[in-house]
């Protein structure tokens, strides 16, 4: 919607004397004034007073805030190279851009405020005033049915390969393709190919329709091109492009994962030690989100690992904990060094600038030193000098043995040197995903420091992840808060026997009553 249109809504009647043109001009000016107030209050902190994407918050963000001066917008309904429509701009403001720092404003600002701000951000670029640049939205059809069927997904996968999606997004879609480390936006900021397994983090939304629209329009300003020309040139049909969108959608869970606080570890006869042991498929999977560590210096605003998937199982004497997370690089990897340089440049923090180096990937699983008796737990961010936490620290540079130790705050980790200092692990890196299994005896050689694991108790647990190729080491990491691990107790025999016994007794009593009643009836008849 044009600014003038917005204005006419507001202008209303009663101004017939003034020529319409003048009225519209006046109202348009009012609109951008109102929009400027909203913009200055809510938007300028990141997008900058002059709309150049250079507000004070900008240096903490990858991707950076939109620079409005070039009028280059990712999320559009128009062909690549065209301006967005007002509805496109309003949508990004309303919904935000998932996976970035841009929140949705629909519930925070009124309709009028959001429309005013659309009118205002358009004033940052002269393209919007150029009448030859009117956006012409693409008419999108609707998705063909049967999108989740095997045949449809096979067609989608075929085009995933043939049009080269894998070059950036990787063979399995985790943003780890061969070209992924080289990606930049127009201004040279580092860009990541989207992890197609996390559709709730897609900038333009995660539905099949959203994905199809992005394939048609491209994400202007980023390396993601438009694939509309392929339809024009009959390289594929519209239905096949929809199939591709459906295939991409199928890579993510049907529902966005929700956090369940307690990991239930069932009892089993034999522990699965290998990450790909078939026994894992029967175990419930728990998802926990991770966020950047921004509490202590050096803080970290661009964590690469957005969450972990956890399964646990135990026997009478041991536990196996499997942690799976997406990581676009198997660190250390020299292919990502130049990218890392761009990350450090983009995040010109208050911390000292570091030189890119080859760091490994790491994961830490954290417990208290003993199961707490009350609600009190140690500080979630790696304990404190007086109240340490017990951790297993795994690194991609020593894959088969994690180091157990006590963390006494974010910057102090004391490895355990005696018994219990090593935790057996098995790790697999496969197509952009780490799968690591930790195994340990339930009993511990030092019950005061090395958490003895017991069934039937809620054991606090937390997770930390580092992607070395993203510059993560030390305090630069992704963190979770406390959750719980519960080792299911063996089911006592009486649980199985009691119901059967109760049924037999009930049946017997019932039959007795019936028999007695029949006896009485036949006695009366005889009389």
């Amino acid at each position: 919607m044009e600014a003038e249109d917005l204005g006419s809504e507001r202008g209303g009647g009663g101004q017939q004397v003034i020529p319409a043109l003048l009225l519209l001009t006046l109202v348009a000016v009012q609109d951008t004034t109102a929009g400027k107030q909203v913009y200055t209050k809510w938007c300028a902190g990141c997008h900058g007073d002059n709309g150049a994407g250079d507000g004070p918050g900008a240096t903490h963000m990858i991707p950076p805030p939109r620079d409005f001066t070039g009028a280059i917008y990712q999320i559009r309904s128009t062909p690549s190279g065209q301006l967005p429509t007002d509805a496109d701009l309003l949508r990004s403001i309303d919904e935000g851009l998932p996976g970035t720092a841009m929140p949705g404003w629909k519930t925070r600002l009124s309709d009028r405020q959001r429309r005013d701000v659309v009118a205002y951000i358009k004033t940052f670029s002269s393209f919007f005033a150029d009448t030859t640049q009117r956006p012409q939205p693409i008419t999108f059809g609707s998705a063909p049915g049967g999108g989740s069927g095997a045949e449809a997904l096979k067609v989608g996968r075929q085009f995933y390969d043939s049009i080269g999606c894998r070059k950036c997004h990787g063979d399995q879609g985790r943003g780890n393709g061969p070209s992924a480390p080289t990606l930049k936006d127009d201004a040279g900021h580092p860009m990541f190919a989207a992890n197609l397994h996390e559709n709730w983090r897609f900038n333009g939304g995660g539905t099949v329709e959203d994905i199809y629209h992005r394939l048609r329009t491209g994400l202007d300003g980023t390396p993601m091109p438009s694939f509309s020309d392929l339809l024009d040139q009959k390289f594929l049909t519209d239905e096949q492009l929809w199939r591709l969108a459906q295939y991409v959608r199928s890579l993510s869970p049907t529902e966005t994962p929700v956090v369940r606080d307690v990991i239930h570890a069932p009892l089993t006869k034999a522990l699965p030690h290998a990450p790909d042991d078939s026994a894992w498929s029967a175990i419930d999977d728990y998802w926990f989100p991770l966020v950047g560590q921004v509490i202590h210096k050096e803080r970290w605003f661009a964590p690469a690992v957005s969450g972990v998937w956890v399964k646990a199982v135990h026997t009478a004497d041991s536990i196996a904990l499997r942690v799976v997370w997406d990581d676009r690089s198997q660190s250390p990897d020299t292919a990502w060094l130049a990218h890392l340089g761009r990350v450090f440049t983009a995040l010109a923090d208050d911390s000292a600038r570091e030189q890119p180096a080859l760091w490994p990937d790491q994961l830490a699983v954290q417990f208290p030193v003993s199961i707490p008796t009350g609600m009190e737990r140690p500080y979630f961010l790696m304990g404190s000098p007086n109240a340490p936490v017990y951790q297993w620290r795994w690194s991609s540079s020593a894959r088969t043995l994690a180091t157990a130790g006590l963390a006494r705050g974010i910057d102090r980790f004391d490895p355990i040197t005696g018994p219990g200092g090593g935790i057996a692990t098995q790790a697999v890196y496969d197509a952009g995903e780490w799968r690591v299994v930790f195994t340990r005896a339930l009993a511990s050689p030092d019950t005061g420091n090395q958490l003895p694991l017991r069934t039937g108790r809620a054991i606090p647990v937390a997770f930390f992840a580092w992607d070395g190729s993203n510059g993560e080491h030390g305090t630069r990491m992704a963190i979770s808060t406390w959750y719980f691990l519960a080792l299911d107790e063996p089911v006592p025999a009486r649980v199985f026997i009691s119901p059967v016994l109760a049924m037999v007794l009930t049946l017997g009593l019932g039959m007795l009553v019936v028999w007695r009643a029949q006896q009485k009836t036949s006695y009366r008849r005889q009389q």
């Binding site: 040279g188 491209g218 509309s228 966020v291 440049t345």
Partner: protein
């Protein structure tokens, strides 16, 4: 409890984001690229009459070595070369002649004078995972065609400020895309492929036909100039720009030589 911790983390993030103020939006210099050996696109023929500016472009010092390109990911491109391909940042001819310099009339053409763009398109071809040509010009309003001769995915991203940028894909050989014409003069529009980070090309968009690209021997010719005094600019992707002032009277040929310094 968990919620509280997250809100603490969240507010820390917000606080930090809102309170820290040192901006640095230093953009790393775009790594330039390759140049073709074939003839750069010639500007539209203008009136046979008029003056001509020609010259030679050289450089002093030692030309930096063009980085080699690792095409191991793209066997179909790699097979088009007998020796290891390199980028085309500095294409030098004999005696320090400098190719791929975009030379154009920066000012001096009367503002009101309009030039009709040719209807024949300017064509850029992707072959062997390099752009041909590597440096070229086009007129405002002239059709622009992008061809793919490689059986691999290329995306063609135009980075522009005065014009609308775009990013389109060509996943296979034989594809031809005609883009809407450029609408404003711009020296230069950068073209790049994000699948192959080494692929760069540079396109000068001009409102008139008075531009040329230096050949391998460093020579260039701009013809059909009406009488007047002109500022000529020579642009090179690595060595920057140089200008010269040339006055044309009648149908004469004037010489403008440029010498860049290789650092």
């Amino acid at each position: 409890m968990k919620g509280r911790i997250f809100s603490v983390v969240g507010s820390m993030l917000l606080l930090t984001v809102c309170s820290k103020g040192n901006q640095s939006s230093a953009a790393p210099a775009a790594p330039p690229t390759a140049a073709p050996t074939n003839e750069p696109a010639a500007p539209a023929a203008s009136s046979a009459a008029g003056g001509t500016i020609s010259g030679k472009i050289k450089f002093t010092g030692t030309a930096p070595k063009n980085p080699t390109i690792d095409m191991s990911e793209e066997a179909a491109c790699k097979s088009k070369y007998t020796t290891t391909p390199t980028e085309e940042n500095v294409v030098a001819g004999p005696a320090n002649a400098l190719a791929n310099v975009f030379v154009y009339v920066k000012s001096g053409v009367p503002a009101g004078q309009k030039f009709t763009p040719p209807t024949t398109p300017v064509v850029i071809n992707q072959s062997g995972c390099r752009y041909h040509p590597h440096v070229f010009g086009i007129m405002v309003g002239q059709p622009f065609e992008i061809d793919n001769s490689d059986p691999v995915l290329h995306n063609i991203k135009a980075i522009a400020k005065a014009n609308r940028p775009f990013n389109v894909s060509q996943p296979t050989a034989g594809m031809k895309t005609t883009r809407p014409p450029f609408t404003a003069p711009e020296v230069m529009v950068n073209l790049e492929c994000n699948v192959h980070g080494w692929m760069h090309a540079y396109l000068g968009v001009r409102p008139d036909p008075f531009y040329a690209v230096s050949k391998e021997d460093g020579s260039f010719t701009i013809s059909g100039l009406p009488p007047g005094t002109y500022t000529i600019e020579a642009w090179h992707e690595k060595f920057g720009t140089q200008t010269a002032t040339v006055t044309i009277a009648g149908t004469e040929t004037k010489t403008a030589n440029f010498t860049f310094a290789a650092h």
